[in-house]
């Protein structure tokens, strides 16, 4: 009895402890939620953002201390200009390097934040103009357009020049005239405009950060900027999330950093750019002829990955490796553009002096077997000594049968045998049955009757070999397919 109570008490205690633990975790979760929203996990934010109404509950980055700190430092550094700190200091200890590392992380965060805000704006604006999100993909462009259009129902009064390419403006105007949206209430509109402002502010902050990183690029990653130029180097380091992250990436990923998604809206994909990212903006890429661009891009990606790896370990602070790699790239691209060597007309070979290449092997043997002489024909070719052979027309006229069917021949019965050639031809024609679903006979009509009523003509040759013709033991059949059940 006491044992039973002991167990029960234990269970209760375990339950309580379990509940406590769950509570603790939940609290910890709530603390982490802020960080998670800033982090890459946009999914969690989406789920949480489903029941939001306020912008601030969604995007918190601008309010964080970290953000403001870094922005302040960046602005200071930009004002001070580049002061080349002594190279004697180990890179990691240099405060500016730390700042640059932080900037990289921040730019990634800003980008994610922009995506979240974009979702927010999109959800709010969906009531007004649902089709806009599928026409304008880029979040910043979308924010700008939303801000411009605001609550306007007639798009001819709105001037979108400069925000979008003219083709898309046209499509947008046309779609707006037939949209199923209704004007937004005032407070929702205000929130949306706020969100757009915030997105644009974040975008400008990101630009500032990138400018700063770019100006310091020669110091951080000399080899990489020697190959692709400092602007592009800054961008790809920013997108990769740091120099060491970039160094860990395979070259194929580096090639695609910053690649834009396909733009639709009636544009055919025949002219769309191939898969290049920020590398497209490099000087080397722009100066190669279009036919070689794909190869050049791959070459660039691989060499810049090498340079990034050198840079991440500070193996060559002077940038010499980068310059040699760049020279190598130039040389290779030059080589590709050389015309091929002129073709020399060759004199004809001496007739019959080259040996004919005879093939052998199983395949050839099997192929020859199909045309080989069958046993029946062999027997028919031979004759027995002293015995006149039977012939097809009798009396020595017509084809002779030789030893076929004679008493003296060793075989009791000569069968037709499996003619491999015939089997192969039959199989080929069977495989080619066009469009007959299920019914194997070629005499079924394809008229549209119900399956029960289908017309089938009777095959006059069906009973030629007598009785039921089983395909399993058929002499002209081929291997059967054994289906796995």
């Amino acid at each position: 009895m006491t044992l039973f109570w002991l167990i029960l008490m234990n269970c209760l205690i375990m339950k309580m402890i379990f509940c406590l633990i769950v509570l603790l975790i939940k609290e910890a979760d709530n603390d982490d939620a802020e960080h998670m929203e800033e982090d890459v996990d946009g999914d969690l934010a989406d789920i949480e953002a489903l029941n939001y109404d306020d912008l601030d509950s969604v995007s918190k980055l601008q309010k964080t201390q970290r953000f403001t700190d870094i922005m302040q430092k960046v602005e200071d550094a930009l004002e001070n200009g580049s002061e080349n700190s002594t190279h004697g200091i180990v890179l990691e200890d240099d405060p500016e390097y730390q700042l640059i590392v932080d900037c990289n992380a921040l730019s990634v965060d800003i980008e994610n934040e922009i995506v979240i805000i974009h979702n927010f704006i999109r959800d709010k604006y969906r009531l007004k103009f649902p089709e806009l999100e599928s026409l304008v993909h880029h979040p910043i462009d979308y924010a700008r357009v939303v801000k411009k259009i605001a609550n306007e129902m007639d798009l001819t009064l709105v001037d979108l020049e400069g925000f979008l390419p003219s083709a898309i403006i046209m499509v947008v105007s046309v779609t707006a005239s037939t949209t199923s949206g209704k004007p937004l209430p005032e407070d929702v509109l205000q929130k949306t405009i706020d969100a757009c402002d915030r997105a644009l502010a974040l975008d400008s902050a990101k630009k500032k950060v990138l400018d700063f990183v770019e100006s310091r690029m020669g110091y951080i990653a000399p080899n990489l900027s020697a190959i692709v130029g400092s602007a592009v180097a800054a961008k790809i380091i920013g997108t990769a999330g740091g120099l060491s992250a970039l160094a860990k990436m395979p070259a194929c990923n580096v090639q695609l950093l910053g690649a834009k998604k396909k733009n639709l809206a009636g544009f055919s994909t025949a002219t769309s750019q191939f898969r290049v990212g920020y590398l497209e903006q490099t000087e080397i890429f722009q100066s190669t002829p279009p036919s070689l661009r794909m190869r050049a891009c791959r070459l660039l990606a691989s060499k810049s990955t090498l340079a990034a790896r050198v840079d991440s370990t500070r193996g060559d602070p002077a940038g010499k490796t980068g310059r040699t790699l760049r020279a190598e790239i130039h040389k290779k691209i030059e080589k590709w553009q050389e015309p091929p060597p002129a073709k020399q007309p060759k004199p004809l070979p001496v007739p019959d002096s080259e040996p004919r290449k005879k093939r052998g092997g199983r395949r050839l043997r099997k192929m020859k077997e199909r045309y080989a002489i069958t046993d029946m024909r062999k027997l028919a070719n031979r004759m027995q000594f002293g015995i006149p052979e039977e012939s097809s027309l009798g009396d020595g006229l017509g084809e002779g049968y030789g030893m076929l069917g004679q008493a003296g021949s060793g075989k009791l019965r000569v069968s037709v045998g499996q003619s491999k050639l015939a089997a192969k031809v039959a199989k080929k024609f069977k495989d080619r049955s066009y469009g007959t679903s299920g019914a194997t006979s070629g005499l079924t009509s394809s008229l549209a009757f119900t399956p029960v009523q289908g017309i089938e003509l009777s095959n006059p040759q069906a009973n030629q070999f007598g009785g039921t013709q089983s395909t399993y033991f058929s002499e002209t059949g081929t291997f059967s397919k054994i289906k796995r059940t």
Binding site: P345, P347, L348, V350, P351, D352, E354, P355, R356, K358
Partner: protein, 140 residues
């Protein structure tokens, strides 16, 4: 056409060429370089010389020269241009549809015709006991 293909004017030159061409078909064109038909033939010969150079030598013999008259009499050359084929110093005879099998009279219409004729000479020359060039007719 003298400057494009080797032209022979002396008997001694012709002799040495015939003797010295080993394992190759020797094509001797007897004719005048001013004759129209001859010019056409020379053109065809010149165009194909590069292609068949592995098994053919081509030379032009000027029939107006004194020393060459001996050859004209020997080969019974009356019509110009005429081509005589040699293989390993042996005169090759060919049935070209006319009565005369010892030479080819006239011009070739196309380069390919000439190449065919000469290839056939090569094959026959190799097949015969005249040469010891290897041929892969049977499986090795």
């Amino acid at each position: 056409m003298e400057y494009l293909l080797p032209t022979l004017r002396k008997k001694q030159e012709v002799d040495s060429l015939i003797r010295d061409t080993l394992d190759k078909v020797l094509v001797l064109r007897f004719g005048l370089s001013s004759d129209a038909v001859c010019l056409q033939l020379d053109d065809v010969l010149y165009k194909s010389v590069k292609d068949v150079s592995k098994f053919v030598t081509v030379a032009l013999v000027d029939t107006t020269e004194e020393e060459i008259q001996v050859y004209l009499k020997y080969f019974d050359i009356t019509y110009v241009p005429s081509i005589v084929f040699f293989f390993n110093a042996h005169h090759m005879k060919m049935d070209s549809g006319s009565a005369d099998h010892t030479k080819w009279v006239g011009t070739f219409q196309r380069k390919q015709d000439f190449v065919d004729v000469v290839e056939e000479h090569m094959v026959q020359g190799c097949k015969s006991s005249l040469c010891n060039c290897r041929r892969y007719t049977e499986r090795q």
